[in-house]
Symmetry: D2
Subunit: 356 residues, 4 copies
């Protein structure tokens, strides 16, 4: 019978098994939250080196105790275990350098991999070395990886086995910027992006600088001028521009749990209508991109806990300068949500299932 | 075909029409958020005196622009309009005193009413006058009203036409307290409840005392010793105790958006096992009550944006004093969520639909 | 006997009388806080249309009840009253348009005026009309006014009768930018300033958009591309550059009580040593400017409740782009503190008294 | 000449040398902040095992770079070093168990010790073992220690060599409770204290549970029913009551940097006037105790960054229950400020110097 909400408990068929590596971090937790509700997915594995042996509900007290995920035990990360489980897809929410260790055997076992680390985002191992100060750990896989910016690389994601999910900052910069570069409305190398991120973007790490008292009533720039995310941002901008491009990126930490706002200045010869048209062409039918136009402003409050990104734009009539603004939830559209969106695309499902 | 999430856009049958009065406040907004996703419900009316004429998406930018709710226009509150719309149920998220004005004609027209104001919570119009400093505006309806504390009054709610949804504080106090009073484990008149509420509990009102700068880095008690919610708390406690009972209640405003933690001290002759048994008997099969026992502590972070309530307990071995603790989201289990839970019960649906 | 802290209660001589108009707003409150401790000042008047008749301690419960200010009664704003009181200086913490009404008679009565509104910041009444959408209310005074950016216009402030205290954003932009424009290290019209402000910057106004729940867990750009503060920023930049200059300015509201961080991108031909030298020349002996250099980052947490501004800088070695960063407390260095610093300069006192 | 503020740079005589052990924690930092401005004190030593070798301004960027403290180097904690420095008093802002190690040799060298740890608060080493799960490390000193609740034990503090500064919670509970117990207005063993503390109360520790994301949008009870501070609270209450007394204490963590609000319920036979009189007798001439009476409510916002405590009271006319409320800054009146107040008393100085 149609018409009733398909509660995951009542679904007996058509499910795929998935596992989440590094499930105890903030992105991992968000994956659990979303996938536990996903109507086509059954979570069969959660790994955490530190919490192996504990139940999911010990770490995630918000889990419905009647959900099957609540009793799932964390295990140590071990690709071998999972390949025996008829797992169709694995999410890697691990630090860069570590993720690739697991990606190799998982892919060899025919499992689809959605990597939320930086390991497979940059094509050029030289760029990886420059920005991550280490040799790339699995160069052979780089050519097989697809950059998981869903609205931009949807066709390649559909056929991918290894998706490198974008960083949270890059998603908030690239989605507003790429359509305008592609249509020649802004000059790629004039892009100056200033972002403000909630503290979950820094991960669940026991560091003094991330304590409540250090972050509350604080705002601070950091990692200027060479934040690691520049590597993937510039790669995608260069691709769209058709030539190697360098830009400016200034990240800031602001006292909220989740969300990133980005304001971008760029040079170009465009009016607001042309920009509007370019965005409508690019995202007109995309349910997760909300085009706010020239009257409204994005706000992380509008996108928190959702997979949406808001984009607004202005042209300064005095100077011709083009200003683009975006807001997204760094843990959803900037991490777990976009990864699930990519899974949906890879599986040929409706792109938004499990994400509303 | 079974197995896919029943997106509201694809459902053509078995839906009931509902309207939300006072939809622009925080509780109203939460009702919109939840009901827009509810698989058995179609929102056909949103009222707001102040915003009549605007579209839902103007006030709620977080609405999926493709959702049918996004384009719904706010109208002025007028019961007559709605009775023409084949509306099955109406949620009143209006101030006390105002809600009852609309309840009367709606009930007369055979529409079920879920009132989130205080107008129908206290049976005794004298108590209403005492606590709300005005004559009760619709005394005749008091006898038809059921107090919508879902886990306690489920059987009456099933048959109700008018449900008086409990206040946010009462829900966090009564759910932990009532089973222990009923089973004689605590002395009803010894209850001392201290609560800490997020600022949304005060409503979306343009008042200096609710400004960000006034509430951030602030903690303050208020409305001591006679907060209005005492009227319904004492009514329900008296009912469970079998005699008129007065208790202590100390509310505090703390700087977070949502959530209430309540810590209760009471006298009694009970050990932790007896308390645990009483709770299991009362709530063992209730999906929205999470019994944390004597090791864990409730936290609003665990229940935010969900309809769950966490309950924990301790007996101080030195003094025999009984300590109960609870956490809930004031806008969900303390308002909109519990109202929807009541609707589900009234309609004979699974109690949790639209609430996960 | 020397050596003990000169508590204001023990000082009987050498005090000047001051009054604060609009003392109930956030800047006004900060003026009261600071001036109540200032060793050379006696507060003799506090005005507030809304709170006339109340005692200072009613509005400012933090006041030491033994302080003489605690019992001071708010009066309605009326210049005439104050001229009878042997008042030497008046601070106007009033909205623009209103401030000038009082400035005229006060100046006529020989009283020094420190205006925290925008009324006397821009020399050109045409610019005022453009940015403030009203005719300038006291054009004749414009030529007598000095822009109170203390470290930049110290010599003029010394001789001024009317000081137009800079806005909070302008202070955070101009102090890092002006020395580099003056020494030709950056191109004035290439300046792109992105700022993040705490909510007190919006004033103590009963507006929905400033409620705790609206601002907490929110970050949002606003007033783009033509925030009113651009008028005074561009005036000062044009002055330093020697020609009319337009820049970009992108303000954001972030969830903290106080503080502004600004990150500025500019073009130029400068290395980090040249920038460092320019700053040392400009601010080397200024106690309120902390030059952080190229290793450290500014943070509002370091400057909250103080009159200091932190300035840091980088040159992106890949692009040559110059990045400047600043942090200040919008209510102190960005408002009340700088106003008091100006008073100290005008009176020939040590610049920092009452501000440590 | 009298009349000017005695800036510390101009004072050449009558200063005593002090050192701060454990200066890098939140209480230590607050001591530095206050003592750097104290007109009778010169900071000559700052210890931190972890930061030895760094300059004070590296850890405390808010320090005025021209202040002599800014260039002071952190040293490893070593009592021997300091006894050579002509140090008159030492503040120990160290963990319990560690503080006593240093107290012994310092006292032997004739140096006054103000200990902010729990080591010398409880007279009975048995109670210490019970609450701190370790043998008391310096029993011989217990009899020489004075409990530094300034308004209560002023006379003993005046003659003390070793002051055990109270915990932050005890200060907020004992100051409202003791005068009423002493005058027989409330029954000591009926006291139920519920407190809400800002996160700095937990110290500057790199723990997951203290991260911004874990504390923001969170409220939680903890350490119930036997928080360690109960030991000193009950000791002082027992002393005032004249017999051993046990009470209830329920601490909560709330998302703000600083401040504690406590709400206390107690039984007694008192009306509001009697309570008012008892407080006026006890604190009428104390500049740091603000008696709010029965109309106003305490708020941490009123006392943040100050050494004040606010106390308010109500009698519930329906039940006779007595309700007391207090607010203080846990790092000032609850730690560093009260310690300095004690130093002032020990030195025979005006009690409030360095604290306004």
């Amino acid at each position: 019978m149609v018409g009733i909400r398909a509660d995951s408990r009542f679904i007996a068929m058509n499910l795929i098994n998935v596992a989440i590596f590094g499930a105890s971090g903030y992105s991992g937790e968000e994956l659990v939250r979303r996938l536990a509700q996903h109507p086509r997915v059954r979570i069969v594995g959660l790994t955490s080196r530190q919490h192996a042996g504990k139940k999911a509900s010990d770490l995630f007290p918000w889990l419905d105790p009647h959900s099957p995920v609540a009793d799932l035990q964390f295990i140590s990360p071990d690709a071998a275990n999972l390949t025996r489980e008829d797992v169709a897809a694995v999410f890697l929410a691990l630090p860069h350098g570590v993720a690739s260790e697991f990606a190799v055997p998982l892919l060899d076992a025919g499992i689809r991999v959605l990597d939320l680390s930086a390991d497979f985002r940059t094509r050029d191992p030289q760029v990886y070395r420059e920005f991550y100060q280490q040799e790339h750990p699995a160069k052979a896989l780089l050519s097989r990886s697809v950059y998981g910016l869903a609205e931009i690389h949807r066709d390649e994601i559909r056929k991918a086995e290894l998706v490198a999910c974008p960083g949270c900052y890059p998603t908030g910069i690239l989605l507003p910027v790429l359509p305008l570069i592609r249509s020649g409305l802004i000059r790629a190398d004039s892009v100056i992006a200033t972002s403000m991120s909630g503290v979950s973007g820094a991960g669940r790490k026991a560091e003094i600088s991330l304590l409540f008292v250090e972050c509350n009533e604080s705002v601070r720039p950091y990692s200027l001028p060479l934040h690691r995310h520049l590597s993937e941002i510039e790669q995608e901008i260069s691709l769209a521009a058709g030539r190697e491009t360098k830009i400016q990126f200034a990240p800031h930490l602001v006292p909220l749990n989740r969300g990133i706002v980005t304001t971008i200045h760029a040079d170009g010869n465009a009016n607001e209508v042309q920009i509007s048209n370019a965005y409508t062409r690019a995202y007109g039918s995309d349910r997760f991109v909300r085009l706010l136009g020239t009257d409204r402003f994005p706000d992380v409050k509008h996108v928190a806990h959702s997979n949406a990104i808001e984009i607004a734009w202005r042209v300064d009539s005095r100077t011709g300068k083009i200003i683009l603004m975006s807001a997204l939830d760094n843990l959803v559209k900037g991490a777990a949500g976009q990864a699930i969106q990519c899974l949906n695309i890879m599986q040929g499902w409706e792109e938004g299932i499990g994400l509303s």
